[in-house]
């Protein structure tokens, strides 16, 4: 119980820091990949602090509420995860959080926000099956949905969940909002959607979204970590290293592909969910 609480507190405090630094690293690495110098590593923090200082504007009375809910539920979702909670609960509450973000965008009744929301929704539909299957895979392997049980299970899930692992990595590109799947919004302008989902958010509201992303990214990496635990310190070290590698990989992918259209996003992720995820589950079914 106490360790659990400690984990949650650590998450609450360190996730945004680590998430922000990772985002900073991302920007530097991306810049270098593009032959540029890039911003200082703390740039994401400057951005957020800057946003906090800006004039408070909104397009209606409710959107801030929704964005706040988004942030709160993202944090809660991560909290469940780090408290060793139920993976399905984590996924469902993540969906709840995303729905809040989408509703926030919808509420503005503004073209680009709306289309962004629509695309975000599509992305959810694209990744959801795979994410659910990831949880199912862990359950079938360890007999529990609980992160705490998975952690102490003692065998490295990766070996039996290799298909699911790749499927999850694929999905991660969508969740990290990286090219080729940065459909609904991206850091860079110059896309057909202006800023998509976030078009109507400014100042503190936008800062909240940014911070929520940091939290989100951390627990998404937590999933990656889960694949490598085997109850020994080696597993933990390996997990951390692989998380970093996975993150780097996502940055590389971001810089290596054009943005795809929604059709491809939906099709490819479902195909992956079926080929990598489902087949893996079937194999598990006959192994355990």
């Amino acid at each position: 119980m106490t360790t659990m609480i400690l984990w949650v507190i650590a998450y609450l405090i360190f996730a945004p820091l680590v998430g922000g630094i990772l985002a900073g690293l991302d920007r530097i690495v991306s810049a270098r990949m593009q032959g540029r110098v890039g911003p200082p590593i703390l740039q994401p923090f400057y951005d957020v602090l800057k946003l906090m200082e800006k004039e408070a504007l909104t397009v209606n009375k409710v959107q801030d509420f929704y964005v706040m809910c988004f942030l709160i539920f993202i944090i809660i979702t991560g909290g469940f995860f780090f408290a060793g909670g139920d993976l399905l609960l984590v996924i469902f509450s993540l969906t709840l959080a995303s729905v809040f973000l989408i509703v926030a965008a919808f509420s503005s009744n503004s073209p680009y926000a709306q289309i962004g929301a629509e695309r975000e929704l599509l992305q959810i539909m694209a990744y959801e099956p795979m994410v659910l299957m990831t949880a199912v895979g862990f359950y079938m392997f360890t007999g529990s949905f609980r992160v705490s049980d998975i952690l102490t299970f003692g065998q490295m899930p990766l070996l039996y969940l290799i298909g699911i692992f790749f499927g999850y990595l694929f999905i991660l590109t969508i969740k990290f909002r990286k090219s080729p799947f940065d459909l609904s919004m991206s850091h860079h302008a110059h896309q057909e959607l202006v800023k998509g989902l976030t078009t109507e958010f400014s100042g503190k509201t936008l800062a909240m979204i940014e911070v929520a992303h940091w939290y989100e990214n951390i627990f998404l990496l937590g999933f990656v970590f889960l694949f490598f635990v085997n109850g020994t310190p080696l597993g933990i070290a390996l997990g951390v290293v692989v998380c970093l590698v996975a993150y780097f990989l996502e940055v590389l992918i971001d810089n290596s592909y054009a943005r795809m259209k929604w059709q491809f996003t939906l099709k490819s992720s479902w195909v992956i969910a079926i080929t990598a995820g489902f087949i893996n589950l079937v194999v598990l079914r006959f192994m355990f």
Partner: protein, 138 residues
Amino acid sequence: MFVSKISKLVLRSLFKKPATKMYPVVPRVWEERTRGHIGIVEEDCILCGICMRKCPTNCITVDRNKRKWIIERMQCIQCGCCVEVCPKQCLTMEQAYTTPETFKVVDTHDIPAPPPKAAPVAPAAPAQEAPKAEAPTA
């Protein structure tokens, strides 16, 4: 899966020195022909006003009475037309650009009176040489 053709280039760049010129830490070296701003050799100007008439943006004002040659920097397009037409070749194309300012820069140059033909020795009245920046009134 999708083959990415750029990964190699991207990874190579990651470990190479960035191409960035690091301006302003490293100042820019200009080419000889770089067109930055118009300079004037005040002594040579005869206030004939040809530059004023030919300048496509009308940014030069030549005031014969007050003996002033005035250029509105925020209006000059560095076309070099004035340099070309000046009968005295007293205008030059300098390489540095006018620095951005919070107001519209207008440079006024006092053109020294030509030495009276009768007195070949110039009186020791040094003209103001440095261009002066004036804040716009509005």
